[in-house]
């Protein structure tokens, strides 16, 4: 498998509604063959004179190295601001400049252990490719998908095909169990004897998942979502406080050293600050 990102002009193969989300399939040569689960693409929004200069990052949902129209990548997105609104107006054959795959993928266990995959909202998108890889290695895959409301669940049906067990939660109880996605975790970890949790979703969810994994002594891999200006490691906007292998706390680029980090490595409570002791922090700096 070739590595490193490419920049290509993608073409819209399809754009469909999926609950509260949009499911976009782009023909984009060379991206899929390089993709590992947990990586993302950065899409330019607007035309060559676009007033929106910054690329938008989206987890890769599916990557097909070849197909009737050439290699394709799929993403699932929510309309949030002007950039995603523009994407939601794309029509078949429209062009979109794609850079990817980017970032550090999910690390896979060496042993065929049992794993729990936790997705919040569109955060479940990268978990399906991950599930396939884990199953190839003989791992048992259990999924927990949660969202605020039923229409913001993504992939609950597909999860049934993908995973040995599926638990669904919604904040409003409209679908599945009422509550947070972390609520069923302790029980599920116990029942399945899982040794790893993979998670993708909002920061607050990742922090909670990391807390649960710490408490239950399991390993966790969390894909974070920080504001990114470049996505390729040159701008330093996307940092968060992470403890490195050398034990040193640094403001670490989530686009190249993440988006996947060990849950125990991230100082979740200190995100948005420069915690005391950070490498290079001004003496006495707090926040």
């Amino acid at each position: 498998m070739t590595s490193g990102p490419v920049q290509v002009t993608g073409r819209v193969l399809s754009l469909k509604r999926a609950g509260a989300y949009h499911h976009l399939t782009l023909v984009a040569e060379g991206v899929a063959e390089r993709t590992h689960p947990g990586q993302f693409v950065a899409l330019a929004v607007g035309d060559r004179n676009s007033p929106m200069l910054l690329r938008r990052a989206f987890s890769i949902y599916r990557a097909r190295p070849s197909g009737a129209y050439g290699g394709s990548v799929e993403v699932v997105f929510a309309v949030h601001g002007a950039g995603t609104a523009w994407l939601s107006q794309l029509r078949q054959h429209d062009e979109v400049d794609v850079v990817g795959p980017l970032g550090h993928p999910f690390a896979l266990p060496k042993q065929p252990v049992s794993c729990v995959l936790v997705g919040g909202g569109y955060g479940s998108a990268p978990l399906f490719g991950l599930a396939d890889r884990l199953k190839e290695r003989g791992c048992a895959v259990h999924m927990v998908l949660g969202a605020a409301t039923g229409d913001r669940l993504f992939g609950a049906l597909e999860a049934k095909r993908s995973a040995r067990s599926v638990t669904v939660t919604t904040d409003d109880g409209s679908v599945g169990i009422e509550g947070l996605v972390t609520d069923p975790l302790p029980d599920l970890l116990g029942r399945t004897g899982s040794e790893v949790i993979y998670a993708c979703g909002p920061m607050a969810m990742l922090r909670a998942v990391s807390a649960v994994s710490a408490e239950y002594g399991v390993w966790s891999q969390c894909a974070v979502e920080e504001s990114m200006a470049c996505g390729i490691g040159v701008c330093m906007t996307c940092v968060l406080p992470v403890v490195g292998d050398d034990g040193i706390l640094r403001l670490t680029r989530s686009c190249v050293e993440g988006p996947v980090f060990g849950g125990d490595r991230v100082l979740w409570d200190a995100v948005g600050t420069v915690p005391e002791g950070t490498w290079g922090a001004p003496a006495g700096a707090g926040h």
Partner: protein, 321 residues
Amino acid sequence: MSVPGPVLPSEVDLTTSLAGVSLPNPVLTASGCAAAGRELDQFFDVADLGAVVTKSIMLDPRSGRPTPRMAETPSGMLNSIGLQGPGIDGFLASDLPWLLRRRARPVVSIAGSTLGEYAELARRLGNTPGVTAVEVNISCPNLENRGLVFACDRHQAARVISAVRRDTPRGVPVLAKLSPDVTNIVDIAESVVDAGADGLVMINTLLGISIDPETMRPVLGGVTGGLSGPAIRPVAVRCVWQVHQAMPDVPIVGVGGIRTGADALEFMLAGASAVQVGTVIFNDPSAPTRVLEELRVELAARSFKAAREAVGFAHRGDVPR
């Protein structure tokens, strides 16, 4: 100018001279928008550029500011990175050797909080072979002078430049990078040139603020940030124009919102001998080489046989309107 007549893009002589150092072409990266070149090398060969300007390096490692560090604005962005970086030792141990191995031409940007830090950085770089030029980022708060930005005071700016010039080997040009946030850019330019700057880089970002409609507080962790991107291009071109008008012999590197080869040409016509591509790299990681190829086409279309001929062309009164 060259005798008008059809010029093929491939025939255009792109070589330029940056305060005495010759470069294969006039397109550089802007400091802080290309790290130290390594990541961009995935998209194009960094040795194809005129030079790679590194992220401003300080004496010690720096964590930078808290996040959020960016806000998108119409045709621009605000950033407040706070000069996060490994410090000069880390830079000399890893980034610089990599650039030299790749046969890229490194222009090292330095930044300090005191006069002494700038001088020390210059000394450390002065002992290091392979540095194409030193770019002095003086848009930093001066901790010895109530945090006032060096670049906003003609005397402080000049003191930094003369300290750096003193400790930089003769053959290595010292370029002063100026801030547009001043009443009179020509005044600052003259002051740093008198202090020994071999060339000028214009412009650094404009001070801006963006307020988050949800939290109703400033978006940036650092409250204020630097505005960059095509939005500021008219201001940058104006600075280049004014300073070239006042000091036509001082080499200028133009930077601020360059997105296309036509934009790069605009800076050259206004008086820049070279240009830097910054924020637009975030939009298009191939932008530096794309701009270079587009510039070649723009020059040829106007019958310029050499990029040098375009420098300051817009000032020539004899050009028919």
